[in-house]
Symmetry: D2
Subunit: 430 residues, 4 copies
């Protein structure tokens, strides 16, 4: 049995500071919103911003305060019901696709809820028994990473809310300059063999990144940067959306049924394409990474190009080669909320844009790693129960916090989803 | 050709005053709302309150200002698109079931739009040529009645928004006292023959009330008051919702598929029933009229009771006998937003509650009267194009303005709709 | 109390003969079918022919044999379940839209079932107590009219099954000659007043035709023949399907969602239109009545033509003027299964095609006549429970038996249904 | 360049014999069917038997005769349209979910089509140029394996058609004896490392089995037999279907929405469970393998049991250890069409039931093997375009032909499908 070390006051202060930093960033992201923007849910995938504010708070109340605070009295029973998301373990909850029908609690009430829970968390961190501090710290860390995930969803959801409003509101005046041409892509070779991927036991990571394990990878080459809008335009002009031979069967059904002819947020304006960004609508820029594409579109593009998507193991092996712990790249911290041409936010020789800009679709299904055991209870609901019919994405995006990303990080979405900042790079056998 | 009389300034002032009265009442009804309450649309039937505010304003801009104001410059093209409802004639419009996805324009912007259009209307009324004044007056009157219809929808929509929110917000603290027992119902006899129903040509009325025409009515008797919650409870307790023999085929399918066991807004609390009102949730009161029932439920109740619903002709013949032009009854003007026991707001000897309290389902389909001609263009879209698969309701409700109701007024909804203040009284052959 | 007369043997023989005639005609209609044709159900409205064969037989077993035969032993419990249609009263039944999923019982087994029930019915008619004979006779008559209704459905369902099969099988080689031009339409005037419509108490009629009653009809004129394909083509060429102003709101939604541009079974072949008939596919003939249109299309055409559809009262008043009891016209007895130009099967001076050819859409909703009381139990399920959201059609079609039609006969379908032989004539105010 | 060897007549005769053997077996499987059974399609997954007969024939016409026969005249253009399945490459085709609506071509016509194409194939095999013979042979082999796949679907589809018919027809009187108890399961250990899986280049195999490649497998143990009905009953009795903690999120949604409480074809009869087999309905036998379960149910059972499903690599490594080329086991050749207790049809020391009985769900998604390249054109539509959102099953079933199975064979279905003969065995880490 592990000895429990007495946490010194510095540790407690450090935790409180980190708690405050993350929590305040959520509210920072909401600053440009009008009250009305907090309320709506144009599609089931998108949650109303005030729901994100409440849900992340509920998480701390549910997982920390209800467990560790003595004689804890719940803030509001109905909030508890409204702000649970998918945790069957915690009982009934409002239906996901009905979140946008709830005008109450008001935005002001949700901020008051946040404030009160923050106070209670401060007190808990300051006063919890030493014996429980370590256990609690790990769960606070989980709650903060959980909140960072919702910060990203907040950005993507606001983008969807604004982009589908005929008035096209602008979220920020701060926008990327129109940078020069992207150089043509090259493929960087990696030699194969038995490789180690997945997370080491120490440090914060999600369960699904474990265990670190051996996997056999063949020799491969991976593109030195992301696929650009310019390259994607060629695919469109070459009839990519009309040629069934390029598509997975499900993908063809989806693009046919929904009439997709381009990435989400691309708007045809006569002969040219416009793109809706969080800084407003403007011309497509060919050097920027293509974004808001589904796995199906990434897959079809790869087939059209005579290449393929990388597996998640290949991606991780490649990422290990450039991972110096700094995670230089275009993250939400930069404040642009839009992917940038290769080289804008990093200086690397070989692989560009591995971190930030856009999540990169891989060819791997989101399945348990060998040796993974799904927890029982609520923690097993965090990632484990979603290991079905979703594809893995890697590397974070311009809506991700830099402090949230890792080389071993596995994101996942269904193949047809496009509202996230998702793009891709290609790979090939050598 | 009719001579155009020069309208004196008094006439113009009177119109402006009436305009202001109606327009301000809409805003009065919104006073209890939080900004968030203006935005949501929990079901397709319900429109967000801010949409009602904008749409009624758009109507004046579209039908009056664009026609009569010189060199008129539209307030905002996108508002025009967003606030059109179903008028194909006026071109593209936002999908009805998507209204609750639009966070913008903000509530503040919508009020600003109202204010500006009111100013422009004031100016138009003051300055339009005498020659056009009469034509315009009729359309202003239409716009005001249109706005009164939306005031009623506003009340019913807010009720739905609040009643389906797990926090059960209260709209008004003002609530009906718990009055004494309703006396048992009697049936008032009317002798049949060829009767005249429908509106006379003069005075404001809707197209669908025309022409006044002969119809043959048999001898009949009609209940002297509305069916009460107490009577409806007997129907429930007698297994009314479980006995297919009582129901129309479509009705049985609806109650089975949706699991209906009671009127909308009735909540079972152990063995007793609670009711959600705009003044909060409380016990059912047996003397109050049953409300928020579908045509199917009214029909099944009537069959269970060995009676039937009245036809709209019977209802109108009966109403003629008590119509002294005062329309005494429980209207939105009373400010209770809830139906009251017979006798609370009127003193009559024979027929109670013919006006106000609840819209009364009849057994008549909403079809054109003999000799009715649907207008071409936008005005034909007002009522005429809905003369299919809807049932007629009569008499107004506690959410209707007294100045909006008439004995000849024909309201109509699909047989399965319950979110309106709709109840019924019975009839029988004699 | 009515004295029961002893039925003489002749009466029993006559009933048996009529029973056999009707029952055999059902099988006659099936003669051109391959075994496979009996099985399929391309849309929910269409039932597999073998289901019609079984269901009509079940009706005699259920309503006659189970009631009147002593110690009756049911033929087969599962057949009972499979061949019930919509009678809640008789308990569980196979879902309507699943009829086409049942390969068993085989066609041969269904014919064996018919044969056995026919034998049992013969025996019942021959041996039932005199006291019960009269009561039974009325129900046999109901069963035979029920079977005639299903004969018509059989023809329309086979037409749908054949017409939607890419191999376009031909049901009969017997086809109408291409007759000369239809003369242009005239409108025949009728003066209004209080009129009597509905069925007299004696003779077989359906409940919904009762009671005969007074109704007030204004002066009107009605077209002397049915609207033709040629006239309907003008409507199409004039953009009738593209002009929302002509349509009811529900109708516009239906034609938009389903992409309707012409009547059902019309196929565009380059610039000309072909029509699929039970005698094969061929050119449209302009003089034939338009058929397989929905109420919405009839209504839109009428509005386009500046006329309207007749009410059912107007239609019946008009029909009374030409009803000599012979019901001359183009019925299923003629064996063409297709409507014919005016004058082909009748010689009348004024009104043509009132009986046979196509069911005529009226502007009346299918509602109870004044004084109608819906029976309790199974008989109340025959017509009464469908008095909601359907429109009345009158006069029978080329798929109806002549012995089944009456001037007072009320048929009814939803406004969007087209697979029946339904057309229309126009009316106007005078 | 490879030299083309002149095929001697023996080779041609051998191919003809193999062709006839496979083709006749399809018709053998249809012998118990009534004509009506060939026609119906109770769910989209199930195709009408006559469609299978036609589609497999179309494949030979399309892929062989149209390519290799000189001046080939197509048998029937509409058959071509009707019997194409999902090949976009070959143009328009009847919608999959509409197959059961087509009564024509009749069963007799489909058999005539088969006969004629068989004759033409015989002639082609006998007369094709030597130069083309080899190329053709490979495609004939593909066509025969394609037909064997459809033979299996035929059995499963007939089972569904019969089992969902309230008359519960029996397909064969031949049924498995009630064998003794299954011994309790043991887990057989395999040591890990870099393993080779996938098909060697020579011999007939599907594209998706290629290329044979290295993969890293950890030490693991796999159950020595299939999970039995008895074991599955324990899972049910332990509340397996009510405990959300055991289920994948999608799985829980599926069982909740569809009300699943047991495998498909299990029928609760009071307290005990009956099972519908192709030999009729009877008691569950505890020693038999559980069958007709979805991937979700297999996964939940494994979690309940504290184990997991094997990956497809683990399954294949284990299967290699017992693969002597004989594929002893319970296949369609045995004629029981139902899985049997371990040991009934094989004598092995370690792993039982690896081949035959039931397809075994693995924990692997159906994805391309490293180095796989999807063909362009029709062949790329065979397997490659389905590599999305499906799970791999291994080992064949009692409805599979022994000559069709291989250790490397990859079958695949969506996680919620149950109408195939699918069960599972467990695995664990060691």
């Amino acid at each position: 049995m592990k000895a429990i070390e007495t946490p010194d006051p510095v540790t407690r202060t450090r935790l409180t500071n980190r708690y405050d930093t993350v929590r305040q960033f959520t509210e920072h992201l909401c600053r440009p919103l009008a009250t009305e923007d907090y309320v709506v849910q144009p599609i089931e995938d998108v949650s109303p911003p005030k729901w994100h504010l409440g849900h992340t708070t509920w998480f701390f109340e549910q997982v920390l305060l209800e467990t560790f605070a003595k004689n804890y009295v719940r803030y509001h029973d109905t909030f508890y019901y409204i702000f649970n998301s998918y945790y069957q373990h915690f009982g009934d909850r409002a239906q996901r696709d009905r979140r946008g029908t709830l005008s109450r609690p008001t935005v002001e009430q949700v901020y008051a809820y946040r404030k009160e829970i923050d106070n209670r968390m401060h007190e808990l961190i300051a006063t919890v028994d030493d014996a429980q501090f370590e256990e609690m710290t790990e769960l606070v860390e989980l709650g903060l990473h959980h909140e960072q995930q919702h910060q990203e969803l907040l950005v993507t959801d606001v983008k969807y809310i604004f982009a589908t409003n005929p008035l096209l509101p602008v979220y920020t005046e701060h926008s990327l300059p129109n940078a020069g041409n992207s150089s043509s892509a090259t493929f960087v070779r990696f030699s194969g063999g038995v490789k180690q991927i997945g997370a080491e036991p120490d440090g914060f990571t999600y369960d699904c990144e474990h265990p670190r394990h051996s996997t056999f990878v063949r020799d491969f080459a991976i593109m030195n940067r992301l696929v650009t809008c310019g390259e994607y335009l060629e695919f469109i002009h070459d009839g990519g959306y009309e040629n069934h031979d390029l598509w997975l069967s499900n993908g063809w059904d989806v693009i046919t049924a929904r009439g997709w002819k381009a990435p989400l947020f691309w708007v045809k304006d006569g002969k040219s394409w416009q793109i809706i960004t969080l800084s407003g609508i403007r011309e497509i820029r060919e050097t920027e990474p293509v974004c808001h594409v589904s796995h199906y579109e990434a897959e079809a593009f790869a087939r059209w190009a005579g290449k393929r998507l990388p597996t998640e193991a290949e991606w991780e092996v490649a990422a290990q080669s450039v991972d110096d712990g700094s995670y230089a790249g275009n993250f939400v911290d930069e404040g642009y909320y839009h992917p940038a041409p290769a080289g804008t936010f990093e200086e690397r020789e070989t692989l560009h844009q591995m971190f930030g800009d856009v999540w990169e679709w891989t060819s791997s299904a989101f399945l348990p790693y060998p040796g993974y055991r799904r927890e029982h209870g609520a923690l097993g609901e965090y990632n484990g129960k979603f290991m079905n019919d979703q594809m893995v994405l890697r590397g974070g995006s311009c809506a991700t916090s830099r402090s949230h990303i890792r080389t071993t990080y596995r994101n996942f979405f269904q193949s047809d989803r496009r509202w996230q900042f998702a793009g891709f790079r290609l790979a090939e056998d050598v």
